[in-house]
């Protein structure tokens, strides 16, 4: 796809749109925090500054440095994932966090970047550069993807695991899979579900997954949230209820309104104009990253940028489908809009990488 933008480069557009989205997210968080206290807003402000700093640092790195350290990056976060089982803090049933002083870190967010870099590195250094890969050739990239995914499933954190799988699969699909290999992967996946279910996942985790998946067993859990979210979005109507006047979120009908359901709050308070504006910003950013990716000559840079675009894309798709009631609720944040240190930093790192690699 070709874009003709006369005055600004894709790079400038990307920066501008990201800044706008980031501001909208902060404003929304401020609105939600007015009644509950500004604690979350202040924390997020710190995270955004940290994120901007990260962007500044990463975008100034030499692209080669990034490529050379991608394996280190991947292994580092994979190790952290492993360490979670020893030192991890359990929050609402999932062992996904490290508590370092006042800061909680969620390695499963950062591993997304690790996987993107690792897969880009693998495919870039594959001299053959085929159109499609057969099953044997796919063993390595699949392993690179599935090992961290398994670690996340074991936490258990289904939402994150699903996004990780989707991001990795997007890269693998972009690079091509032969029909035979695709068939084999599907068959193996189907067969492995049963033993994986019995061996890897403990009973209490299964229960959690059941209730997570099946809305009918827990009407006041998952489906209740989905309904309240749809009420929040719908009640915003065309022009919204106004800044900080979202009754659904302010009165706690809407759960997790500053994290996973932040988009619902925007939709409630700003109406259709606000929700579509955010949607437009988000998808434009993704398209710009994709455009930058296609313009790059270097294979590593192109694949990594594509991976970052895929990461933003799948997060947006899952989150918005979830809050608008098109999909069951699985906890996935909307980058730049949802509150959360690790996910915000991950998104900024992604932007930083794109800005760094575009110079290649």
């Amino acid at each position: 796809m070709k874009f003709e933008l006369p005055y600004l480069s894709s790079y400038s557009w990307l920066l501008l749109l990201t800044a706008l989205l980031c501001l909208a997210g902060l404003m929304n968080l401020y609105s939600v925090s007015l009644l509950a206290g500004l604690g979350a807003f202040k924390k997020q402000l710190v995270w955004v500054f940290a994120g901007l700093l990260t962007v500044a640092v990463i975008s100034r790195l030499r692209p080669h440095t990034l490529e050379n350290h991608s394996v280190t990056f991947y292994l580092f976060f994979l190790a952290l994932l492993g360490l979670l089982f020893v030192f991890g803090k359990t929050v609402s049933g999932s062992r996904s966090w490290f508590q370092i002083g006042p800061v909680s870190v969620q390695p499963s967010e950062f591993i997304k970047i690790g996987i993107i870099m690792m897969l880009a590195n693998y495919y870039a250094n594959d001299v053959a550069a085929k159109e499609n890969y057969n099953s044997v050739e796919l063993l390595k990239p699949l392993a690179l993807l599935l090992v961290p995914t398994a670690a996340v499933i074991a936490q258990p954190d289904m939402g994150t695991a699903i996004t990780i799988l989707l991001i990795g699969s997007s890269i693998i699909l972009l690079m091509g899979i032969s029909r035979k290999a695709l068939l084999k992967i599907i068959i193996i996946a189907l067969i492995s579900i049963v033993p994986a279910w019995h061996l890897l996942i403990k009973d209490y985790q299964k229960e959690r997954i059941y209730s997570f998946m099946d809305t009918s067993t827990d009407p006041f859990g998952v489906s209740y949230n989905s309904i309240q979210s749809q009420i929040a979005i719908g009640s915003g109507m065309g022009f919204g209820k106004g800044f900080s006047l979202g009754s659904q979120s302010n009165l706690n009908f809407l759960p997790a309104h500053h994290t996973d359901f932040a988009f619902s709050v925007i939709s409630e308070e700003w109406g259709f104009r606000g929700s579509v504006f955010i949607l437009l910003l988000y998808f434009s950013i993704i398209l710009f990253i994709l455009r930058i990716a296609t313009s790059l000559e270097d294979r590593f840079a192109m694949i990594a940028c594509f991976g970052i675009a895929a990461m933003l894309f799948w997060h947006a798709v899952i989150n918005i489908a979830m809050v608008t009631g098109l999909m069951p609720i699985i906890g996935t944040p909307l980058f730049f809009i949802s509150y959360g240190g690790s996910s915000t930093l991950t998104a900024f790192i992604g932007i930083g990488i794109v800005l760094c690699l575009r110079r290649k």
């Binding site: 719908g234 065309g238 009908f253 192109m302």
Partner: protein, 601 residues
């Protein structure tokens, strides 16, 4: 690397596709279904709490409270917040003294309302029930307690029929009165109904916000929903009646176990001092919420009646009507008061025998004596000259067959004439019917209040006053409609003498009303319920006993009319009661004067 470019194009198209899908979904939720969700979100958070306005109090003429409010606790429910009707009914049935089946039925109906206005499911619960509900509040979905106002009647049955009662407005009443909502309380009978619009007041309305846990966050209403305004509660207005509560109570007790009615009234102003109807009912039997079946059962009880016999009971007036007949005879110059008629105990009209109540006869009777001794033959004979249409306008002048205009539901009774009979019975008038009409039998019927107005008109010197139940500052008595001129003074003063005689002369029929405290004038009446030929000792076939009177005889203040249903002779059954009430009136007056003097000194 062309295939990669191709794949990028596919990816870009996919992104655009998802953008379109999501925008469509948002359009559907926010624009297409937006209003629905907006309503839903408001109901989600909004509870409209009604603060019931206490009804106005009712005072008697001396400032005594005769109807006021006591706090009561009601269980109410928010229809929209019920999730499981069966479970709620089961839980409630364990706590309060209402069968589960009944609760379930009620809750099912309430649930369909889906309103965010609460509905009452149990009124005036006991202290024990109150504590249990309070304790189990968390598990009772949508249930809350309301501090309401329960009507309290210090005089119980004695004033119940007059004061009436309130109830929950039904659909028809909501349509008629407009300003009330279903479930609101309004006056259904008696004074409560007549002055309802003043007594009722305006219920307050308070919108409160609740969070997902039903917890009230009241102070954020204004900011989140500026369109929803609270409404101040306005108390109902107090009403002052002309009733004397102590006289009312005394009169009620004076009737004893008999059925009947008593009206005591200020003869000049028309103010009702006491208005009694028996049987009455215990107010608490009405205010408690009864099922239609229970209500039917209660109504069947002999000791239960909602009817105000003073204004809604119509009876043949019997001999008390002779006051009007005599007045007509005088006015029409049909009778010369000096000339006399012989009473042998019976009189023939067209070979039909009409008996006097005194079988052996009264001997020679003039008009004065005929009233004092209540001779029937005298009136039989002279009524033939007067004719029914000669009597009709005088009956009308005294207010018979017309509403008195009191602010209470009342019946008109019947003031018959030739035209009336043609119209209603499609028959001509027979002369014999004039004879029995002249002594207050036959087609004529009147309410005790109408008789009271008639007697007051004689007592006050000829003014047919409009009876009043509500105390106003107006001093001028209101004349009744239909002429409205003062009755002829000469005829009135003749009747006054005769009515004094009826009580105070040796042969008077009203001697049992004679008092040592004051001078009493009056007229007895014994109205046949069935034909005289029908001999029966059964109570319901006994005559109605009337006595209508006033005192003091020369400067009348009060008129007292007593009707005892199936009481027998007016002289024996009704006159003594009237005397007691008159005496009590003067005793109370003296006591109050003494207190007033003591205070002023």
């Amino acid at each position: 690397m062309g295939f990669l470019k191709h794949r990028f194009t596919i990816a870009s198209s996919l992104i655009v596709l998802f953008f379109v899908v999501f925008s469509g979904r948002l359009f559907y939720l926010q624009i297409y279904k937006g209003e629905e969700y907006r309503n839903f979100s408001e109901r989600n958070i909004l509870r409209a709490l009604e603060l019931p306005a206490p009804r106005g109090r009712i005072f008697d003429r001396n400032g005594e409270k005769i109807l006021y409010n006591k706090p009561s606790f009601n269980i109410r429910v928010f229809p929209r917040e019920i999730t499981d009707v069966e479970e709620l009914a089961e839980k409630l049935a364990e706590i309060i003294n209402v069968p589960e089946k009944k609760l379930l039925e009620k809750l099912r109906k309430i649930e369909t309302l889906q309103s965010f206005y609460p509905v009452t499911i149990a009124k005036d619960i006991s202290r024990e029930e109150l504590l249990l509900v309070e304790k189990n509040k968390e598990t009772l979905e949508g249930i809350f307690l309301e501090v309401g106002h329960k009507r309290f009647y210090p005089h119980g049955e004695a004033a119940a029929v007059l004061l009436g009662y309130t109830g929950i407005a039904d659909a028809k009443e909501v349509r008629t009165y407009g300003r009330i909502k279903a479930g609101n309380e309004l006056g259904k009978m008696g004074v409560e109904k007549v002055f309802d619009s003043e007594l009722r007041g305006t219920n307050g309305l308070e919108y409160v916000m609740v969070n997902a846990h039903g917890k009230v966050i009241s102070d954020s209403v204004a900011t989140l929903l500026p369109a929803r305004k609270n409404r101040e509660m306005v108390q109902g207005k107090d009403i002052h009646l002309t009733i004397d509560a102590q006289l009312q109570q005394f009169a009620y007790d004076a009737l004893g176990k008999e059925k009947g009615a008593i009206v005591a009234m200020d003869v000049k102003s028309g103010e009702i001092l006491a208005m009694v109807s028996r049987p009455s009912y215990r107010p608490e039997h009405i205010s408690k919420e009864l099922s239609p079946e229970e209500r039917r059962k209660t109504k069947k009880k002999k000791s239960f009646s909602l009817l105000n016999r003073s204004t809604q009971g119509t009876y043949p007036p019997g001999s008390v009507l002779k006051i009007i007949t005599a007045f007509a005879l005088l006015e029409e110059k049909t009778a010369d008061p000096k000339s006399s008629v012989h009473c042998p105990g019976h009189y023939f009209i067209n070979k039909k025998r009409f008996n006097c109540w005194r079988e052996e006869g009264h001997g020679d009777m003039n008009l004065y004596k005929a009233i004092v001794e209540s001779c029937d033959v005298y009136f039989y004979k002279l009524s033939q000259k007067l004719g029914v249409d000669g009597l009709y306008p005088y009956m009308k002048k005294f207010g018979l067959g017309e509403r008195t205009g009191i602010a209470l539901p009342e019946k008109r009774g019947v003031n018959p004439s030739k035209a009336w009979k043609r119209k209603h019975l499609k028959e001509p008038w027979y002369p014999g019917e004039t004879a029995i009409l002249a002594i207050g039998q036959g087609y004529v019927t009147a309410t005790p209040l109408q008789i009271s107005v008639m007697t007051s008109a004689i007592a006050n010197g000829g003014i047919v006053v409009k009876p009043k139940i509500r105390k106003t500052d107006e001093k001028k008595p209101l004349r009744i409609t239909g002429g409205g001129q003062r009755l002829d003074a000469k005829s009135v003063s003749f009747l006054k003498k005769a009515l004094y005689g009826a009580v105070n002369e040796h042969r008077g029929t009203g001697i049992y009303a004679r008092s040592k405290i004051t001078s009493v004038s009056g007229k007895t009446g014994t109205a046949q319920v069935v034909s005289a030929k029908f001999e029966s000792t059964e109570k319901r076939f006994q005559d109605h006993a009337w006595f209508t009177s006033y005192a003091p005889s020369d400067s009348a203040e009060i008129s007292v009319t007593v009707l005892v249903e199936n009481g027998g002779s007016g002289s024996v059954a009704a006159a003594p009661i009237a005397k007691k009430i008159i005496e009590t009136y003067f005793k109370l007056k003296k006591e109050r004067d003494e207190v007033r003097i003591a205070i002023s000194e």
